[in-house]
């Protein structure tokens, strides 16, 4: 029975999910904008953060939200190191292809290490407020999903303010738009690119904690995330943060609504359908600018 309440509930859940997608896709978009890198390991870091949140809750008894205090700076540093130490050493001519392989290798290493350290067993955080629900116009929404959404929105807002209102944000956007010109006006583009990667990876830390709140995690889960995320950044137009956010909301909502008539697995194929359709009919994506035309 598809009652109005069920559809309403799906819309709410879709929007909540879309928020998380938007946060994670914005990180992927940042990498692509800065260096034309398709960062396959983004979702592996996401799962790593989720594991760290789970670990801090079960072993240390700390609320998973508090693990952010450690994971966000940690991931920022990892992102800077990744860009400065590895990706910037690749040959510029083959950077796009080789960086995919390198980040793929990192993703596989993380998956393997997670499997080694925590075994392949499925893990789930048990929280005091984990089963609490909020009734809203007949829709039941888990409190943890709201917290996850709140985290995503807060992080996205911070990212927006950082990019638009700070000097560093200006420098980062200038580096994305035209690295040579940015260097001419005195921006240290290498350093800015490194910090940009750090910020991108920090979104994975926030996203991972949000994810751990209400999802069962296992080491190979990241493959279920990287596909939808890559579809989102292509549909949104490679390199466009607002495009990625809009595509994330639309696709998240569609996926959630499709779960009513179809099962979860089939609903996920919407991302790939959107990806193929976008590339076949509008390869620059729906919000992409000059940048997306050529990749």
């Amino acid at each position: 029975m598809t009652s109005g309440a069920l559809i309403f509930q799906s819309v709410i859940l879709g929007l909540l999910l879309g928020g998380l997608y938007a946060l994670l896709a914005s990180g992927l978009t940042l990498y692509f904008g800065i260096m034309r890198v398709v960062m396959i390991a983004h979702s592996a870091f996401l799962i790593l953060a989720a594991y760290l949140a789970w670990w801090s809750q079960t072993r240390l008894g700390v609320d998973p939200l508090l693990s952010l205090v450690v994971t966000v700076p940690l991931f920022f540093a990892a992102g800077v190191l990744l860009q400065r130490g590895l990706l910037s050493r690749l040959r510029p001519a083959t950077l796009t292809m080789m960086s995919v392989l390198l980040t793929f290798a990192i993703a596989v290493i993380i998956e393997g290490l997670l499997g080694y350290a925590f075994t392949g067993t499925q893990r789930r955080i048990q929280l005091g407020y984990g089963t609490a629900n909020l009734e809203l116009l007949g829709a039941r929404i888990a409190v943890v999903k709201l917290i996850a959404f709140g985290l995503a929105v807060a992080a996205l807002l911070t990212l927006y303010l950082l990019l638009k209102r700070t000097t560093f944000g200006w420098a980062l956007r200038a580096t994305i738009q035209h690295p040579d010109a940015a260097r001419l006006v005195g921006i240290d583009t290498n350093r800015v690119a490194g910090y940009g990667f750090g910020i991108g990876l920090a979104t994975a830390a926030v996203g991972g904690t949000a994810l751990a709140l209400d999802t069962t995690i296992y080491p190979s889960l990241h493959w279920h995330w990287i596909g939808p995320l890559m579809a989102i950044i292509v549909v949104g137009g490679l390199g466009s943060v607002p495009g990625a956010a809009a595509a994330a909301m639309v696709l998240g909502l569609t996926q959630s609504l499709l779960q009513i008539p179809l099962n979860t697995t089939w609903a996920q194929t919407i991302f790939y359908l959107a990806l193929f359709a976008t590339l076949a009919f509008r390869p620059q994506g729906f919000f992409g600018g000059r940048l997306a035309q050529r990749f």
């Binding site: 089939w266 050529r294 990749f295």
Partner: protein, 377 residues
């Protein structure tokens, strides 16, 4: 066949006839062929033979991958999915449509090649990043579909493919399939070699080096990329189909695994994507290592770590393959090579005159030159 000792078909006067390097390559090729033909009788037990077939399958897949990866420089992580499609296509055509095994294999390869046209159309219109994304998406979406559509594909329970030769014993079965795989590999290598020497191949390599310049020189880059992608997909699917007929049991988790795709890339990169036998060499090394570790240590997550580390090392330090890396390492200890400007025009003329004289002398010493082709082929 690519043979070092067949200069006689072209005019021997214009090309250097049998240089030591070409002769060495001819001997090496002969050795490889002899080793391939004699392996089934040398293998001590059926297990070693079946492991050899797995390595051969990797070599075939990696060579098929190299049509796209080597010529155009577009890295596909999704070739595992094309092989899986070929395998499932063959299996389903045999079990559901009742086609004879090898006809089913051919039809499946052609169908996958036809499917590669729309996939390539979406993936290749723009540059590399989209291609990579599509190639990964292909694996993920096909895994979803083949797991969920259980009524047609058997889902997670897998699909059993009947053997093409039901009355053969297992060792005999392995032996037959060894030669089938080797034959298909030889065909793939031959096609790669032909493309490598053709104008088409030149255009593809121009795309690899600089796609903008290639386009401005009038190379129809999109059409070229699409054609070579379809060829690659066809060979990959045929390899997958042959695997289905040999192994007889398909599971979506293994057929549509992104890890398989990455093994192929690793093998080709390690061996060298620019050379004909690079992927074969890489498959020998990586495929053997994979089998060895599976036997010694079983399946642990450390497999993933080792694969990832090896891939990262290859990408960072030897993106052109291990052989060019080793050659560059040896070159360091040699005296620096002279640039052309350090040779005077007079010296150069003398060198050229000497070279031409030696050449004509050589051609004259071997009248006809035809007999030399025979043993090389």
């Amino acid at each position: 066949m690519p043979s070092a000792s067949d200069p006689a078909t072209t005019s021997a006067a214009r090309r250097p006839a049998v240089t030591p390097a070409r002769a060495a390559r001819g001997v090496l090729l002969l050795l490889v062929v002899v080793a391939a033909l004699s392996f089934p009788s040398l293998a001590p037990n059926p297990y070693v033979l079946s492991a050899g077939i797995l390595v051969l399958n990797y070599a075939l897949l990696s060579t098929s991958w190299n049509f796209v990866g080597g010529f155009t420089g577009y890295i596909s992580l999704g070739h595992g999915a094309l092989a899986g499609l070929g395998a499932y296509g063959t299996g389903l055509l045999v079990t559901k449509a009742g086609l004879p095994s090898f006809l089913a294999l051919l039809v499946a390869a052609l169908v996958v090649a036809a499917l590669a046209v729309p996939i390539g159309y979406a993936a290749l219109r723009v540059r590399g990043a989209s291609f990579v994304i599509v190639s990964i998406a292909l694996v993920l979406v096909l895994l979803l579909v083949f797991q969920s559509w259980a009524s047609f594909t058997g889902g997670s329970r897998g699909l059993t493919v009947p053997r093409p030769f039901p009355d053969l014993l297992r060792p005999e079965h392995h032996r037959v399939f060894w030669f089938l795989f080797a034959g298909l590999l030889a065909l793939a290598l031959l096609v790669w070699w032909l493309i490598d020497r053709s104008r088409f191949g030149l255009g593809l390599k121009a795309i690899r080096e600089d796609e903008d310049k290639a386009e401005s020189l009038g190379i129809p880059t999109f059409a070229y990329k699409l054609v070579v992608f379809v060829v690659s997909a066809g060979f990959t699917a045929a390899a997958g189909g042959l695997y289905a007929l040999w192994f007889g049991d398909l599971d979506p988790v293994f057929q549509f695994s992104i890890l398989t795709g990455s093994y192929l890339v690793l093998m080709a990169l390690l061996g060298g994507v620019r050379s004909l036998f690079g992927p074969l060499l890489g498959a020998l090394v990586v495929g053997t290592a994979l089998e060895y570790f599976k036997v010694e240590y079983g399946s642990t997550p450390l497999h993933l770590v080792a694969t990832g580390l090896l891939l990262a090392v290859v990408v960072l330090f030897m993106p052109d393959g291990v052989l060019p890396a080793v050659a560059a390492g040896i070159d360091r200890f040699r005296p620096a090579q002279q640039s052309i400007r350090e040779v005077t025009a007079a010296e150069l003329r003398e060198q050229r005159a000497g070279g031409a004289a030696a050449e004509t002398e050589l051609a004259g010493a071997r009248p006809g030159g035809a007999p030399a082709t025979k043993e090389g082929a």
